[in-house]
Symmetry: C2
Subunit: 369 residues, 2 copies
Amino acid sequence: MNVNGRHYRTIWIKEDDESVIRIIDQRRLPHEFTIEDLVTVDDMATAIKDMHVRGAGLIGAAAGYGMYLAALEAAGKSSFDDHLYAAAEKLMSTRPTAVNLSWAVKRQLEAVTKGDSPADKVAIAMRTANEIADEDADFCRRIGEHGVRLIEEIAAGKNGRPVNILTHCNAGWLAFVDYGSATSPIYAAFDRGIDVHVWVDETRPRNQGASLTAWELGQHGVPHTVIPDNAGGHLMQHGLVDIVIVGTDRTTYTGDVANKTGTYLKALAAKDNNVPFYVALPSSTFDWEIRDGVREIPIEERGPDEVVYIEGLCDGEIKRVLLTPAGSRAANYAFDVTPARLVTGLITERGICAANEEAILGLYPEHRG
Amino acid sequence: MNVNGRHYRTIWIKEDDESVIRIIDQRRLPHEFTIEDLVTVDDMATAIKDMHVRGAGLIGAAAGYGMYLAALEAAGKSSFDDHLYAAAEKLMSTRPTAVNLSWAVKRQLEAVTKGDSPADKVAIAMRTANEIADEDADFCRRIGEHGVRLIEEIAAGKNGRPVNILTHCNAGWLAFVDYGSATSPIYAAFDRGIDVHVWVDETRPRNQGASLTAWELGQHGVPHTVIPDNAGGHLMQHGLVDIVIVGTDRTTYTGDVANKTGTYLKALAAKDNNVPFYVALPSSTFDWEIRDGVREIPIEERGPDEVVYIEGLCDGEIKRVLLTPAGSRAANYAFDVTPARLVTGLITERGICAANEEAILGLYPEHRG
């Protein structure tokens, strides 16, 4: 999507130097837009581990390009494949729970080791990395094409007034290679000239809404308003939300949706006020094993410092301030699970379906028992 | 309640100098505990206006003591009553929507102007100010005596495991003269030796939970954990909340509850998980006129800076940091309304009742049509 009027992806091969990968360093957003050059597989491992890049789709693409950097390095070594396997280990250990990461690394290993020569292997690694990134962008683009129909239908009934969309956390293009999941229908609607306005939940404790979603919507020109996570219920009670669209970190084949903490509260409010509640996801986010999301999806408990402190801009510098009394404990459950009964539908790259086993397997028959 | 092991109220006449009113300056909490001396009615007006003191009950008491300071000043003037009326105007203009403020000022005017001499009038003003503060503390204490029974009942079924109570915002003793409303049953339970643990919603945007509720619970020794406002639903889904107790800024005689933004979302989650949801209030908080709280209670929209910036401690100083992108708008609806159907019961100074017209008027028959 656009930054300062120019089109960007979150990760790409440098225009005039194929040995360099460029990323947007997301740690400085929304206060600074920084492009970082990565030249070694160690650079990429650090970028993933320290969250210069984050988000399921983008982590997969970063791992793919990391393996390409590893192939470039391996071309100068006596044993190409040994170096490649060591790099694979290194990349996979950066964020062990990210499914897309190991999937991308394995795809690269399988493709590259079939090459005839070091030069051939490097070419395969570059092609595969680009394929992984292109597929991610293409899936997200298609989510937008399906999801935009929901927004068009609402717009048709609003007599020119803007369609108000509420979203939580960042399921935007910054979490993928381009377009995003939850944001893709919004960008598609905006680009077609539909009058949209987005309520952006700030999404404590890490504030990905206030810092990332608000920034990317603003850069693309989409009208939006940042709100505390507490506000959505009031807005829905008063007819100020037409549709909720969120992303997901894992969705069961029965339609239960794990997403950033607080999503469940918004789904409850949507149900109580007859506001449609949609979840946008590429098929890679489905869990084809788990039946009961609330009981079975493990919820990561992160360190309390994300609750106790917050970062922001102060006198031109990014500073961390303490929010709580010295002796108080804090807890930080990163996700929650929204039961399928509260979800109006799922927006996937293959189309929109209801959040139940029959409808999901109808779109993905290859996963039938 | 206790601070550093000593009992305090939020406002009192200085022990060795009856011409001075002391308050806890709440602007520096939770990072600094500061007692401020107020000697003129202008001092008190500033303290109310700039929120050194806040909370319905405490604002009423502050206005009462402000009128006592006005009487002390008036005793040296040619026209006692003229000065008193001017002071009343000044105090009432500090926070025009606070009902307790004008109620306390009017009570003082009515009492004091009946005095025979300046000395008599000053004595009446002091007595009335103390009465207002004592009544506030007494109502809150009685809320605790009624509400503690709910906690005792839960404790009886927990085999020695702690009773987990979730609260939102600050309906603590810092918002009243002592005890608080929502916190009063919690302090009563703790003081009786019941094992309680409180989940404290941080309560963005002004973070009264993280800064005030967590501080006062900690000072009194009550075990507690600060959580993002997004976490309560997950906790309730997993059996980690036994009861929710919140305060209210205005409750209709039909049981609709206006309280700090986000309360409605917690009430929805409580209902969805069969967690009892109680609202604690002194009778002065009932609105005997409004029937439909969601449609009729006006919701204050405050400035966006409370969302865009946050204050915290950094390098020993309280600093304000920017959270959002430069061009992003923010909205700040301060309250929301929880419909009576989501409220298990109301805890008042006269006892506990269901959140409906019949039950409320049963406790307060003097307000029957």
